[in-house]
């Protein structure tokens, strides 16, 4: 099958990839760009482990076709550090113990980042509703909610 050329930004760098027309963004990120922080856990958009930020919106990269993101900006977990410094969410996920196996962590952090980017100080209900788009099997979510709350306080101070 004829491949397509797709140009887009990933974590601030422009990339050009040759993809099958039906290739998912998740596959392109993992197989071609070696960005394996986005995980495939269900492949059906149910769990959010493959979440990346497309422009400013969190999306399931297993449901996005790479040709769709031409000209757009993608942020993955690998792009969250700024000048070698962790994002406040990365720090609070560690400090609050919001991680166990870590398979859902990238997606969870990016989902929360998209929320904090558009709303500086979300309520607890908003945080719960937002992280309810992602599945975690290990933690019971309590410490995830605490971590997002703590990060919102940190970003507010900055």
């Amino acid at each position: 099958m004829k491949k397509m050329t797709v140009n887009f930004m990933v974590n601030g760098e422009s990339v050009s990839v040759e993809v099958k027309p039906y290739e998912t963004l998740l596959e392109t990120l993992r197989e071609q760009l070696h960005l394996t922080g986005a995980k495939e856990a269900c492949g059906t958009g149910a769990c959010g482990s493959c979440t990346v930020i497309l422009n400013s919106i969190p999306v399931r990269s297993c449901l996005v076709l790479t040709p769709e993101v031409d000209g757009m900006e993608v942020t993955t977990i690998e792009g969250l550090k700024v000048d070698g410094k962790l994002h406040p969410l990365q720090e609070t996920f560690m400090e609050k113990g919001a991680i166990q196996c870590g398979f859902c962590t990238s997606g969870m952090i990016l989902t929360a980042k998209a929320l904090l980017d558009r709303q500086k100080k979300p309520s607890k209900e908003q945080i719960i509703r937002t992280v309810s788009s992602n599945t975690c099997r290990c933690t019971g979510y309590k410490k995830i909610i605490e971590a997002v709350t703590a990060a919102s306080r940190k970003t507010e101070r900055e």
């Binding site: 495939e40 856990a41 977990i77 560690m94 196996c101 309810s132 099997r137 019971g140």
Partner: protein, 759 residues
């Protein structure tokens, strides 16, 4: 020894940085030069004879490098016990469940592999199948394996005291039957394997809860020596008991790599993960209990039937554990237990962290009903019958620390039990569940763990241990223990673990052994290195060993704060003496190793026991039967929390996986077909489904455990379902009979209550 520097502190776990940056590598992330893609052809039949397998057309597809089936193996069957060796991993005689691995392909890419799969021709002769364990036991049922009459895979029989006499003496005798559907493990990481056979060595990566157990199984199946089968370290996306044993995918991928001479990666889809890796047991539990007028339990009689699926797996263990975690919590002088694990034409089953909910919740709700008839509070009847240190379980296992009463008391107090039980409005309820968990149980010579530790010339430390981490924080636990003993920061310690080439035997993250057994070995190895450091320092500083301590990378005198020396200097001095600082330590729990699950179910079962009690509060919608759970309190005796934050995390996760699951989770079947194999149909609880959780850590300081530690939270996984089931039964006013408590089942309970109840 309560004056710890870092043990007992909620430090940031050593694995976290890699996990928040995306650098943590899981099996599916591995890329090796020349690596091929593996794909598996699966059985469409629940039960069928294999007449012929023809892979020749598949092999002719350009890009296909290997095609295998069961005949490429050595005809060896695996089983955890000698008497349960029934699983060839890829069958040659017949298929026994839908989704069973029949053949596989390795090709240069996924499309080619899938194309080739379609060209493998398998000729089957379908056979009558059986899907229900009771039907499978009936005369005339299809026989799934030769030599197992009635399809009974394992029968565990325990008989203590005189049950019949005790029932005659009892004031109340009550018998009930409870059922529960099996749940999905639903680990977030679908199963994946990378195998690389080269130069006579087989390297393997896969999420696993016991690298040594895995290597042993594969060495047997592949007729290779153990030192040439090297299971390597990799991050693991959850296990929960489901990744303890060898998986067909391991064998398939190994064969593909051996045949192609290239590395092969097999990544299962979510659906394949559900149908072809291990599942949990559906079960039916008949429970008869006799008590005295004052609530003292006199006798218990059980008949439990476990739907074992197509193969043995951990058969006798699975058919025993629900009973034992109950026996370890409560005193009963007379007991008869018959556990039958029965073959059916359903997927392979394994142990689950929440294994046994019908049995455990059934016992607890029945105790509530008995308490009600006697006019005793459920908390009081539990306190009265709970075991305590110095006592023996029914099958003669000493309790060496802790007791059930303390977590019961703490959970009840925090939950406001006395103000609530029996005083809540209609359709609101509160319930309690209790268990005790064996920590480090008999696995023969694999029950123990060893560790070695070396001090590098810059004073940094390398710790080598077989401990494996599936997300619960075992690696960080080992690092924290080493940091405490050797007085160096966490960041100065490099952990090498879960690699069968380098590390010695370890039981794995199985039988709650990681901290108690593996952590103990780490502590002993570090103690050994510490002694060597202090011996040299004592000479150099002219101070007796007893007045020296290790802290902040220094040897310091406790008498004279001016006297100190960097640990790195000692390391170098040791090299000059040609005796580099190298500590070794091992630990094996004090278990009766003559004890056997079927032939001799008596004697010391485990090194120690953790105790736990959980309290759930629920509200039932009388119209729809939907249950909501606003609050959940749980208390767990972990001996000593090495990292309280990690222990809390385990407890909170258990509330989700066992507690909320009791309302929602079940595998649904149409004969041999799993109807909800993916995460759209199988609803894993989300943040919005969770109650407010409060955790209470109880520390009973076990005399053997490292710094007094036992295990980090499994009691919650085994009693949260009981708490929820008891709370719903309290809210409705009749005992539940079947789990999970989905709205349809709760409506049936409400109907029964309206009709006057069946109490």
């Amino acid at each position: 020894m309560e004056n710890h520097k870092i043990v007992g502190k909620g430090v940031v776990r050593s694995d976290y940085l890699a996990k928040v940056t995306g650098e943590a590598q899981f099996t599916a992330d591995i890329k090796l030069p020349g690596m091929l893609v593996g794909k598996v052809l699966r059985s469409p039949h629940a039960h069928a004879r294999i007449l012929n397998i023809d892979g020749s057309r598949a092999l002719r597809v350009p890009g296909v490098k290997a095609v295998i089936n069961g005949f490429d193996g050595f005809g060896i069957k695996w089983g955890v016990f000698r008497y349960t060796q029934d699983h060839a991993m890829v069958p040659t005689d017949k298929v026994r469940y839908v989704g069973e691995d029949v053949a596989a392909v390795a090709a240069v890419d996924e499309e080619t592999a899938l194309e080739a799969l379609d060209l493998i021709h398998v000729e089957y002769e379908p056979l009558p199948a059986v899907f229900d364990p009771v039907a499978a036991m009936a005369p005339g049922a299809p026989q799934i394996h030769d030599g197992y009459p009635g399809n009974i895979n394992v029968h565990v029989h325990i008989d203590v005291g005189d049950v019949e006499a005790a029932f005659r003496e009892a004031y109340i005798v009550r018998k009930d039957t409870f059922k529960a559907a099996g749940e999905a493990y639903a680990m977030m990481e679908p199963y994946a394997v990378v195998a690389h056979y080269s130069n006579g060595f087989l390297d393997l990566w896969m999420p696993n809860a016991g690298p040594h157990v895995r290597a042993k199984a594969l060495a047997n199946l592949l007729k290779m020596p153990l030192n040439k089968v090297r299971v390597r370290h990799i991050y693991s996306g959850g296990a929960f008991g489901g990744r303890s044993e060898v998986s067909p995918g391991d064998f398939v991928t190994a064969l593909l790599s051996i045949k192609s001479g290239r590395p092969v990666k097999l990544v299962l889809s979510r659906e394949e993960n559900a149908i072809s890796t291990r599942q949990t047991h559906d079960m039916i539990a008949a429970i008869k209990t006799g008590v005295k007028r004052d609530g003292t339990v006199l006798a218990k009689e059980f008949e439990v039937i476990y739907d074992g699926g197509a193969y043995s797996s951990t058969g006798p263990i699975a058919a025993s554990i629900p009973y034992y975690v109950y026996e370890e919590a409560y005193r009963f002088p007379n007991v008869k237990y018959d556990g039958y694990r029965v073959y059916t034409n359903k997927g392979i089953r394994g142990m689950y962290g929440c294994h046994g909910r019908a049995f455990l919740a059934g016992n607890e709700v029945q105790l509530d009903m008995i308490a009600q008839d006697l006019g005793i509070d459920p908390v009081d009847i539990r306190m009265k019958n709970g075991l305590t240190v110095g006592e023996k379980t029914a099958t003669k296992s000493w309790i060496t620390s802790g007791n059930l009463a303390e977590p019961i008391g703490k959970a009840a107090e925090k939950a406001g039990w006395r103000e609530k039980r029996g005083k809540l409005p209609r359709n609101k309820g509160i319930g309690m569940g209790c268990v005790a968990m064996m920590t480090g149980f008999p696995m023969g010579f694999r029950s123990g763990s060893s560790c070695s530790v070396k001090l590098n010339d810059d004073g940094h430390v390398t710790v080598i241990t077989g401990i494996v981490d599936n997300g619960q924080g075992n690696e960080s636990m080992a690092v924290q223990i080493a940091s405490e003993v050797l007085g160096v920061p966490l960041g100065d310690i490099n952990l090498i673990n879960a690699d069968t080439e380098i590390t010695n035997l370890d039981p794995g993250a199985y039988s709650q052994a990681a901290t108690y057994v593996g952590g103990n070995a780490v502590k002993r190895a570090c103690d050994d290195a510490r002694r060597q450091i202090l011996s040299i320092a004592s000479e150099k500083l002219q101070e007796p060993v007893e007045s020296l301590d290790l802290r902040d990378r220094m040897v310091v005198s406790l008498q004279d704060t001016g006297k100190k020396m960097p640990i790195s200097w000692i390391a170098r001095e040791a090299f000059f003496r040609a005796k580099p600082i190298t500590g070794v330590g091992s630990y094996i729990p004090k278990i009766d190793f003559d004890r056997e699950w079927v032939s001799k179910p008596f004697g010391q079962m485990a090194g120690t026991y953790s105790f736990g009690a959980s309290v759930a509060e629920v509200e039932v919608d009388g119209e729809t039967g939907k249950v909501t759970m606003p609050r959940f309190v749980t208390a767990h005796d972990c001996g000593k929390a090495i990292n309280p934050m990690a222990v809390e995390g385990q407890m909170e996760g258990s509330v989700q996986q066992a507690g909320v699951a009791t309302l929602t989770e079940e595998n649904l079947w149409n004969e041999g077909f799993l109807l909800n194999p993916d995460l759209l149909e199988y609803k894993v609880p989300l943040a919005c489904d969770m109650p407010e959780i409060e955790t209470v850590i109880v520390e009973s300081h076990d005399p053997e455990g490292p710094f007094g530690a036992k295990e980090g939270g499994l009691t919650v996984r085994m009693n949260a379902h009981s708490a929820v089931a008891c709370a719903v039964s309290d809210a409705v006013g009749v005992p539940f009979s079947e789990l999970p408590l989905t709205p349809d089942r709760v409506l049936t309970m409400l109907e029964r209550e309206k009709e006057g109840g069946t109490k």
